[in-house]
Symmetry: C2
Subunit: 135 residues, 2 copies
């Protein structure tokens, strides 16, 4: 199989597949013409990568997961640990975004949004929060 077919089957663009080879996530063989030649195992690996990436795992986490997947003597606790760490990361990110969201929504709510220049959003960003300048 050439890269185009694999792209279709795995759902990953050819550029991404080449990139994954570059960083050592896959090792397709080469034909006499220099073209990459993919087999079923490669496609499977790429699909694995696509799913892991879509769950937000970083490339390095994907590398670790692939290694665990290939290791038949793995302990599931190792996999779980990687996933749990990632989950924590996601939770932190969600919390951060929700904090932003809360502030932003409050400011937007207070802005009348008409023709006048007066705007609590800009007021907040400019630092006019409670502490009025003296004089």
């Amino acid at each position: 199989m050439n890269i185009g077919d694999v792209a279709e089957q795995s759902g990953l663009p050819p550029k991404t597949i080449r990139y994954y080879e570059d960083i050592g996530l896959i090792r397709p063989k080469r034909g006499g013409n220099g073209y990459r030649t993919f087999d079923g195992v490669d496609v499977h690996r790429l699909a694995f990568l696509g799913r892991a990436r879509s769950l937000g795992f970083s490339i390095e986490e994907c590398r670790a997961l692939l290694a665990l997947y290939a290791d038949e003597a793995r302990a599931s606790s190792e996999v779980k640990q990687v996933a749990a760490a990632h989950l924590e990361q996601i939770d932190r990110k969600i919390a951060e975004l929700q904090a932003m969201r809360a502030t932003l929504a409050r400011l937007i709510h207070r802005c009348h949004g008409d023709d006048r220049p007066d705007c609590p959003i800009l007021a907040d960003l400019s630092g006019e929060t409670g502490a009025a300048p003296q004089g």
Copy 2:
């Protein structure tokens, strides 16, 4: 004021301040020695940027917000529009993360996490979701 003092006052690292000058967000003057010389307006702008960035606004959104802030004839509706668009973006990101989180948490929950290699997380990533291969 030199860049170090401004960094302390604005809470932004010197590197970031130089970068903001590079991309035209601020235009500090220069002293005879080549050092950047910041005045109160610069510090105020930087603090504005710091707050806007901490709310997740992109650099380009910050640029727009600064322009609106400087424009005394602005309509607050323009500001509100920028903020509302950003809020939508945040909501999309939160939704995406929550979807990841849900899948991930379910997989983690189902993984016993012991010494055995059997692992539903890897099973899911490898594509063994319901559809068993024929044969």
